[in-house]
């Protein structure tokens, strides 16, 4: 693979993949949640809310399950623990065994702190890695519908390939629930 190919591949990964769709914007988060429930009742499944801070009501309104990242943490934490046990054993008892202070080659109790730190380190870094991977981060050009969506406004975005996508009906749902703005957009 040539250098140009690699560069364009990295660029491809860092560019956001956007979709056309329909958005409603609110200034009151409670009305947005009500509209999200309504949209879900109408048949939307792939739609998403955009909020400046985490809201638990959003998970219920758009039908999100509990995140599965704890499994990643558990698996990598276990792997870190096993690695720590193997590494302290292999270096101290196999590769170059040296008697220190008359202690056994495999001094398990003395290795516990190092094994513990390996467990924590791998568990923490893998959780963050999983978060970035699942959320598709980092990206250099995230689409911005409204700059206030990271400050004090709330939005619902329905992509055009959603199971229910009827802009007129969606507009009515959004407007009925007090949306301040509705429009077709890219996100």
């Amino acid at each position: 693979m040539s250098l140009d190919n690699i560069v364009s591949k990295i660029e491809g990964i860092l560019r956001s993949k956007t979709k056309q769709g329909f958005v409603g914007i609110w200034e009151d988060e409670h009305k947005m949640i009500a509209a999200a429930h309504e949209a879900r009742k109408a048949g939307c499944t792939k739609f998403d809310a955009i909020t400046p801070f985490p809201m638990h009501a959003v998970d219920e309104a758009i039908g999100l399950k509990r995140s599965y990242i704890p499994w990643v943490t558990f698996i990598f934490g276990t792997a870190g623990c096993l690695f720590g046990i193997w590494f302290t054993w292999w270096t101290s008892a196999v590769d170059w065994p040296i008697i220190i202070g008359g202690k056994p080659m495999m001094s398990f109790p003395a290795f516990i702190p190092v094994i513990f730190e390996c467990t924590i380190l791998l568990a923490a870094l893998s959780s963050v890695g999983a978060l970035l991977f699942i959320c598709g981060l980092p990206k250099v050009d995230p689409p911005v519908i409204d700059p206030d969506l990271t400050s004090h406004k709330f939005a619902i975005f329905v992509p055009e390939d959603d199971t229910f996508y009827d802009t007129q009906k969606l507009e009515k749902i959004f407007k009925d629930h007090g949306a301040t703005d509705t429009r077709k957009t890219e996100f």
Binding site: I50, M55, A124, K139
Partner: protein, 456 residues
């Protein structure tokens, strides 16, 4: 009904919070900021000169010698690592306990952790005397056998503990920053600022699906940091406790060190918050007197734990019947280093008792002075543990004293320059209060809220 005081004062809306906190990053700060920064930078430059002199000339410039082979470097290392622990306590442990008041101080406390650990990390490397060989501490395949590090040694546990702690703290802090960096990116008018914060925010979009995973990871990191922070200072205490020396060889050390670390760290958080509240008055709406009072309560209770540990050490020395152990403690309190011991006891046990009174808990000048005493006392605690135990061991022929040189004082004083420079730069360039965490804990009834806080 018990009324809850609001966590943020001044009838703030979501937009007010964004404007207030972003403006610290977007506007050029006033004169007090630059005066403070330049002072800190001056001390930092002095620090670099001291370090350069020590590295170029050698460890002979510092006071360590036989029999006191662990001096200012180790004392100050433990001091700074301890400072860092309160940051993790606030950001992780209080998060797990659902203490909502933590939200507005968590970011700065976590930043304090990162900078304190950075400051601390230099000292053991300096202490080795050959800092250019510091990589020998890591177990890497080498051409000397490969000769691996000794995993039975507490000093190697320390390398693993501190480096893991630094890594996880930085990651935890950064993940918390991402949504706020996105806020600043979206507000930016200046294209360069937009670009820089755009890169730093990793392209965060704030969708429900992303928040769902984000919150889970934040909780996982808090859950992982909690045992981590307890392990770090336990392992630091093993550096002493695993040795056979009277005064070091005690089982109480891990909890005693952890309590002391939290105690000193909260002292530093209070010191920093008082300064920031004066330099940046907007902070007073977010870090309220209630926050300060809560922290002072923690200082007082951890101070009592530390006092209990001091007493318990003496009791065990007496109860054990071991003459060397008994001598080590009598010598500590009434030997040639009595002044260090009683400075420690006064600063750590007696002075924080003033926080039993609400008046002192809620008085800014009082808490500032007490928090400085706590910092002084906790440095002396490590000095007492390290130096008084080493200076008189089993053979009176080997006894000696530890004299700090100009370079010892220089390294100790200069490290504050490094810490404060980093902290002041952080205040200027990153959102120093977590917007995405403060917004969800706003008081619902804002009009009522301000009436309650009058009575606190």
């Amino acid at each position: 009904m018990i009324k809850r005081a609001p966590l943020v004062w001044g009838k703030k809306t979501y937009k007010d919070i964004t404007d207030d906190i972003s403006s610290l990053v977007e506007n050029v700060p006033g004169l007090p900021y630059f005066v403070t920064l330049l002072t800190a930078k001056g001390v930092l430059i002095f620090y670099l000169c001291v370090l350069a002199a020590i590295v170029v000339t050698g460890m002979g410039l510092m006071g360590v010698n036989s029999p006191v082979g662990w001096g200012t470097d180790i004392v100050t290392f433990v001091f700074w690592i301890g400072i860092g622990h309160a940051g993790t306590l606030i950001s992780a442990i209080l998060f797990l306990f659902r203490q909502k008041w933590r939200m507005s101080i968590a970011r700065s406390a976590e930043a304090m952790t990162v900078f304190a650990v950075m400051t601390a990390g230099l000292f053991p490397i300096l202490h080795t005397g050959r800092p250019w060989l510091a990589y020998w501490l890591l177990p890497y395949p080498n051409q000397r056998g490969p000769l691996w590090v000794n995993f039975r040694s507490p000093l190697i546990w320390d390398v693993f503990a501190v480096s893991t702690y630094a890594t996880v703290s930085i990651v935890f802090w950064y993940i918390g920053l991402v949504p706020d960096l996105a806020t600043i990116r979206d507000r930016a008018k200046n294209p360069l600022r937009k670009k820089i914060y755009g890169i730093l925010s990793l392209g965060w979009r704030g969708t429900g699906r992303n928040w769902n995973h984000y919150e889970m990871v934040y909780m996982l990191l808090a859950g992982l940091s909690t045992p981590l922070v307890l392990s770090v200072h336990s392992i630091v205490s093993f550096d002493f406790a695993v040795a056979q020396l009277p005064g070091w060889h005690t089982t109480i050390f891990p909890p005693y060190f952890v309590a002391g670390a939290i105690f000193s760290g909260f002292g530093m958080v209070v010191t920093l918050m008082v300064i920031i509240r004066e330099v940046v008055p907007k902070y007073k709406h977010y870090v309220t007197l209630n926050h300060m009072e809560n922290m002072n309560k923690i200082i007082m209770s951890t101070g009592l734990m530390v006092g209990y540990a001091y007493g318990s050490e003496f009791f065990i020395a007496w109860y054990s019947g071991a003459p060397y152990e008994q001598y080590a403690f009598v010598n500590r309190a009434f030997g040639p280093y009595w002044w260090a011991y009683w400075t420690m006891v006064t600063c750590n046990v007696f002075i924080p008792q003033l926080f039993w009174f609400k008046k002192f808990r809620r008085s800014i000048p009082a808490m500032f002075i007490i928090s400085i005493f706590v910092n002084i006392g906790m440095w002396f605690e490590r000095y007492v543990i390290t130096v008084t135990s080493l200076h008189r061991d089993f053979l009176p022929a080997n006894w000696g004293m530890f004299d700090m040189t100009f370079f010892d004082f220089g390294a100790l004083f200069g490290s504050f320059g490094m810490f404060f420079t980093l902290f002041l730069l952080y205040i200027r360039t990153l959102p120093s209060i977590s917007m995405a965490e403060v917004k969800p804990v706003l008081y619902v009834n804002r009009e009522e809220g301000d009436k309650i806080n009058v009575f606190g």
